[in-house]
Amino acid sequence: MSTVEKTEYKVIGTRPVRPDGVEKVTGKAQYGADIRLPGMIYGRVLRSPHAHARIISIDTSAAEAHPGVLAVLTARDLPAAEDKMEDLGESAINVMEVSDNILASKKALYRGHAIAAVAAASGHVAEEALAKIKVEYEVLPPVLDVRDAMREDAPLLSETRLTKSMGGKLSEKPSNIAQFTQFKGGDIAAAFADADVVVEREFSTSMVHQGYIEPQVSTASWNADGTITIWTSTQGAFAVRSLVAEVLRQPISNIRVVPMEIGGGFGGKLPIYLDPVAALLSKKSGKPVKIAMSRTEVFEGTGPTSGTNIRLKMAAKGDKITAVEADLAYEAGAYPGSSVGAGAMCMLSPYSIENFQIDAYDVVVNKPKTAAYRAPGAPAAAFASESLIDELAKKQGIDPLAFRLANSSQAGTRMVTGVPFPRIGAVETTEAAINSPHYKSPIEGPNRGRGVASGFWFNAGMQSSVVAAVNSDGTINLIEGSTDIGGTRASLAMQLAETLGVNYESIRTAVVDTDSIGHNDVTGGSRTTFASGMAVFEAGMDIRRQLIARAAKLWSCSVDDVVYEDGGLRCKVDSTKGLTFKEMAGQQARTGGPLVGKASLVARGAGSAFATHIVDVEVDPETGKVEILRYTAVQDVGTAIHPSYVEGQIQGGVVQGIGWALNEEYFYDDAGKMMNSSYLDYRMPTALDVPMIDTILVEVPNPGHPYGVRGVGEVPIVPPLAAIANAIADATGHRFTTLPMSPRRVVEELNGLG
């Protein structure tokens, strides 16, 4: 581990066992699908077989008459939703579109779009009933490709959607382009004219799915008093509560969302799909209803990330990148809201570039509404930019990492939005990559090559609430509301232990329901260890302040004379006076009552994350297969609270990136049917497809966090696509600009087949 300006900590930086670990290795942990309520029945969803169709009529009478069926639902049962935006912290979405995505009202906009739902005594019976629902469709021509959808003569998903441009300007004619955004700086015309070298290419990526192993699942009980309880698998229980309240037009306080353990999300479990459906089926049937998606429904009916087309032109003079002109078109899926904005903002952030123009188009197509996927928008953008940067470096005869270092962002560099960076670790990360054993080792052998690429992600802050209740034996219950998707119970407990100077083992962390803690934004944007960690620190400081006040009273001295250190209190003016944390905990009833630390905050000062990856590949030119031989990921992680889970985030992100680069894609037929909606043919990497993923943690503490935490989870997926493309180019001399670089594409392009 390479370290910069590191503070000495007692708990932070150690690798304890996570609090929820034993339950998860013994099968006792309760995930979304594991709940079983008395009288519970099972729901199933009918989905559109067409990518684009007008719904003429739905006849549910035969399904309702099917033995064992207790409720049937269509969009007619949903209250009319408001045409307004709901802020989800990281993003905002239109409530009417959320509602229409949950159950289609007038049009099916993609294959897999939910049309109706049934609740029955068993899932099998509900499926039998689905087969009896008669839906009459008027099938319309689908539009499946982002550039096709932008054409003036393209079939329109909505006759009334106008293109929104900057400043709220609307187009005159309806269009599938929902939004156009532009970022501009300097003078690109002059810079291109003055450049030593200009490279220009067009890049494409397919839709890919987050691939979380646990399908979406929700169980709801609409109680007799009008309250609704929802047990669900989500990255944000409070976001589910707000959205369900909007869609069902119910007061927020009437809804209680119980977050179950979550089996992966990566951004895909931010939206809601099943929760309002289960709730309404429960209302109709009078019983708790559980709905779980099949794997095919997950692929066809939930949000993958955008397919993209990027036209990019870049120039260099000497060792400097001098101009960039980019045109990014991202598929939003059936409703607006792709990640193109984030892609445009992240694309150039690792570098200080004066002259740029980035055009960004958010485009609807007849595919599932996209959702966030780990650093949403950034990987596809980096695939384009980092590929061209590799070419520029080669043309200028400069080592690709030295070239990146020469252009690296640092404190004060302005992003394309004009916002300057605070202290960041881009330079340190690139330097650590240059000095890594991997980069210093030779790459030898036929058909082998090495590639590098860098990446950037903002990271988010947003709202967190925590409560820390001190028990009379000195143990602590830490109550929080952020979904623990990969070890944050541990990373939060560790920060509280550090703040209070107590043992990690004395803290028990619980993720509780929406009735039991103040608002918490979603676990997304790599924010939980950062923002909830900041809240935990503040709650710990709250306890310290209370303890100091109580000790001062006990010792009849001023609070200014009481010091909290090493998990105890001492009196500056009387060295005979001292109390441990545990002793004070034991006296809380007599010293002022229950000792509870609280914090609710909007976490400002999220520290951006930078990563540089190095990969060695071997290409079989006869079959087109690419083998990953060695992989090293270098990343500025701020402060690694629990280094094992930081490494794990990086390794997981890298392997998702490898899958995206080499094999994963939504493969459609011309009618808009996804042909590979199973784990058999949607090829995520297996253990046999990847090597060990080496990590180098660079620690440049984030000045915006008491322990220097930066989010770590998302940026690791940004560099792999380009790093692997660059490695393949090094191995074969051929540059691939379309993902995935599957054996088919590689063998066809290398051998001129096709």
Partner: protein
């Protein structure tokens, strides 16, 4: 629908249940017997989250009908620890941080145990090959493979 009476040995205990022929072993374990440690990831034999031991072999319980387990020997994740005493693989998964979300973990532990019971010193490649039927989307497999190697060490010492 007529339900069949099935008598099987589940985690060492004689167990009887009623099921429809179309119900999978996975479905019956979870919905009828309350053993929800076995997870559903794909329900078509491609992710390994539902791995259980059936008559001494590792299988996907989504691709076994519950009626097929008449007179069979079934072991699930719930039968791996002995009371509070974790199996070395379970301890190794904790020590090595080999789980993030944890949904695939029971399947990985069952599959890894099936391997180590047969080949207690399997090397990295063999482990990766054996576990290729178990998908994990969080960890990139690095720490899982290291945990299995570490469990081999723990078992060797024992």
């Amino acid at each position: 629908m007529a339900r069949s009476y099935v008598s099987t040995r589940l985690n060492g205990a004689e167990t009887d249940f009623l099921c429809e022929p179309r119900q999978s072993l996975l479905e019956v374990l979870r919905d009828e017997l309350g053993l929800t440690g076995t997870k559903e990831g794909c329900n078509n034999g491609n992710c390994g989250a539902c791995s259980v031991m059936l008559n001494g072999r590792i299988v996907n319980s989504c691709c076994v009908l519950a009626v097929e387990t008449q007179d069979a020997e079934v072991q699930t994740i719930e039968g791996v620890a002995r009371g509070d005493q974790l199996h070395p693989l379970q301890q190794a998964f904790l020590n090595e941080a080999a789980l993030q979300c944890g949904i695939c973990t029971p399947g990985f532990i069952m599959a890894s145990k099936a391997l180590l019971d047969r080949e207690p010193d399997a090397d990295e490649h063999r482990i990766r090959h054996w576990l290729a039927g178990n998908l994990c989307r969080c960890t990139g497999y690095d720490k899982i493979v290291k945990a299995v190697l570490s469990a081999e060490q723990m078992q060797g010492v024992k």
